[in-house]
């Protein structure tokens, strides 16, 4: 049988005397999912070709076969370091299409959760980048801080990564009653770690040699490659979706947009470091924006089975309250965290478990051919993800599932510039350059 793979452009153009090597897909610094083919003269990279797609799992095709509500779980797996921002991007695109108004409390919670996710995203990127340059201490410190941030997320959403917490119309459940203490702890610990990492890396000669003036990106090229987010801002272009087209409560909180000057690896590191401080500022302000406690919030509710038993008694002496963090929300809380639209959001679980009308509404929401029915049309909406503009383009044909759903993943565009950035540099420069891009396979390959 004939070999189906013709030689790649890179292999066809390679000089016979130069050395060709594969970096990845199974290489510890390639984050598991990318292959860079290098043509080397000694240690100098003459040419390269980046091959992606190792983590392609048909996200868009799968979404076309799921209902509007069900496909939310797949968005968790896009940028798996900041899943809440992916949830947010999808939910807000759908809200734009449905014309839903989200209650203010839910908006503040969403902003808070996005910023916590953004910090954990940047921490992960810098942790990997520093570790691959040999700075294992910085890696351990940042991972420690990330655990405290994920405690905040886990406490409220019940999961560290696959959260599915931000839903169309609002958020799934109110914040955990004890969230403020965890947020305060995470803020203290993260600030401590940021100070330590600044001390470890900012003037570290080994780190500077590998990042300063390495892989310099010009403003024009960054725009021509479609760069957004921290990588674009490291070149000095002021574009942040949170400032340019404010969503949620970002027009009401004070924060700065840190900019770089040279667009090299070090600037990409530094912009992320400074952005985390700004994100922590936003988190603080979001906590202040939230009233002290949600009305009707109960810390210790009943498990659903007990609530059902209680509801069946003719005269139950006890008030029927479900645990706020188990399956969403009591009726009293629901109006603060979910939009009031019967067709687009699930009714509060309390109604589902305790009244026949609630049960019918619940079933109708999940039945095939029912549920969310947006109007025909197409819509694009973008939020500022960990890596930049995270956009969803959704085409609806009026049925219960998307006709087409497309994700504009920010790191797709960033990684497409990798070949040009490493050309002519040393093979060791690939590692910090690739690390500073924060390639996330789930988002790039989809």
């Amino acid at each position: 049988m004939q070999d189906p793979s013709p030689p790649t452009r890179f292999a066809a153009a390679a000089r016979p005397e130069s050395l060709l090597i594969n970096m990845g897909p199974s290489h510890p610094a390639m984050h598991g999912t990318i292959r860079i083919m290098l043509e080397l003269d000694g240690e100098r990279i003459l040419n390269s070709e980046v091959e992606v797609g190792y983590l392609h799992r048909g996200f868009e095709k799968t979404c076309e076969a799921r209902t509007w509500f069900n496909l939310l779980i797949y968005t968790d797996r896009l940028n798996y370091v900041s899943p809440l921002i992916n949830n947010l991007g999808y939910a807000m695109t759908m809200e734009k299409m449905l014309g839903l108004a989200v209650p203010e409390r839910a908006q503040v919670i969403r902003a808070l959760m996005s910023e916590v996710s953004r910090v954990s995203d940047h921490l992960t990127c810098l942790a990997a980048m520093a570790m691959e340059c040999g700075a294992f201490t910085a890696f351990l410190y940042t991972m420690k801080a990330r655990e405290f941030l994920w405690d905040v997320i886990e406490q409220t959403s019940g999961a560290r990564m696959t959260t599915s917490y931000i839903r169309i119309g609002g958020v799934r459940a109110d914040l955990h009653p004890d969230y403020a203490a965890h947020v305060a702890k995470a803020l203290v610990e993260t600030r401590k770690v940021l100070k330590d990492v600044h001390g470890l890396l900012d003037k570290n000669k080994i780190f500077l040699n590998r990042t300063r003036d390495v892989a310099v990106m010009s403003q024009e090229d960054a725009i021509a490659y479609g760069w957004t987010g921290p990588c674009l801002r490291s070149t000095g272009v002021r574009y942040d979706v949170r400032k340019a087209q404010p969503y949620l409560v970002y027009d009401r909180v004070a924060f700065d947009v840190p900019l770089g000057e040279r667009g090299d690896n070090f600037d990409r590191y530094m912009v992320r470091m400074l952005e985390m401080e700004q994100s922590l500022r936003i988190v603080e302000q979001c906590v202040a924006l939230l009233p002290k406690a949600a009305p009707g919030l109960t810390a210790d509710g009943m498990p659903p089975a007990e609530a059902i038993t209680e509801a069946r008694r003719q005269k139950s002496g006890r008030p029927i309250r479900l645990s706020p963090n188990l399956e969403g929300s009591e009726k009293a809380v629901s109006k603060d965290i979910m939009a009031a639209d019967g067709g687009a959001v699930i009714p509060p679980k309390e109604e589902t478990y305790t009244s026949i009308e609630g049960l019918i509404t619940h079933f109708k929401f999940f039945m095939k051919g029912h549920g969310i029915r947006p109007p025909k049309g197409e819509v694009y909406f973008a939020v500022e993800g960990g890596n930049g503009e995270l956009g969803f383009y959704i085409v609806s044909d009026g049925t219960d599932r998307p006709y087409r759903l497309h994700l504009r993943g920010p790191c797709f565009h960033i990684v497409s510039a990798l070949e040009s950035l490493i050309k002519g540099r040393l093979i060791a420069d690939v590692i910090p350059t690739f690390g500073s891009m924060n390639m996330i396979g789930g988002e790039l390959d989809r």
């Binding site: 734009k96 725009i223 479609g226 694009y380 497409s416």
Partner: protein
């Protein structure tokens, strides 16, 4: 509204090539003839429109329409802080569109993805190779007639 100004200015400048313009759900959208793609995109990138960034390119497959593939481009103007969507449709029999690789650098990967997923070809593209799928993959997975659980035949082992 300013966005309306952009759209009416574009309509006046390209009377025969812009088939439709509007702002559904608040997104500025124009529909153009495929032949005018390069000229319109070049004009949009330059001043006064200054849509300097190609945000996204994707394709929507409508198997029932005579012009089956709808290409959807999203542009962003950072100085003017606005986005625009450009759409054009091509039939399956002549699904060749001009490549934008001469205008935007990320068009190379975006167009490779569109080719990989839908089989739309781009004229003038330097390296029309599948992006996510492997060489030897049969069909184009995001087309509507490609089944969700469709399986691929095993690929032969490469000779050393």
């Amino acid at each position: 509204m300013e966005e309306k100004d952009d759209l009416s200015a574009l309509r006046a400048a390209w009377p025969g090539d812009i088939l439709d313009a509007g702002t559904p759900f608040g997104d500025a959208t124009i529909v153009i003839r495929p032949a005018a793609l390069l000229a319109v995109m070049g004009a949009l990138r330059a001043a006064p429109y200054s849509y300097t960034m190609l945000l996204d390119l994707t394709v929507v497959d409508y198997p029932d329409r005579p012009e089956r593939f709808e290409l959807v481009y999203h542009l962003l103007s950072i100085p003017r802080n606005r986005r625009i969507r450009i759409k054009l449709s091509v039939p399956e029999s002549a699904s060749v569109v001009a490549s934008l690789t001469g205008i935007w650098k990320n068009a190379e990967w975006l167009e490779r993805e569109a080719f990989d997923m839908f089989g739309v070809r781009f004229e003038g593209h330097p390296y029309m190779k599948r992006l996510f799928m492997y060489d030897g993959f049969e069909g184009h997975p995001l087309r509507k007639d490609y089944g969700l659980r469709h399986r691929q035949p095993p690929i032969p082992l490469r000779k050393p």
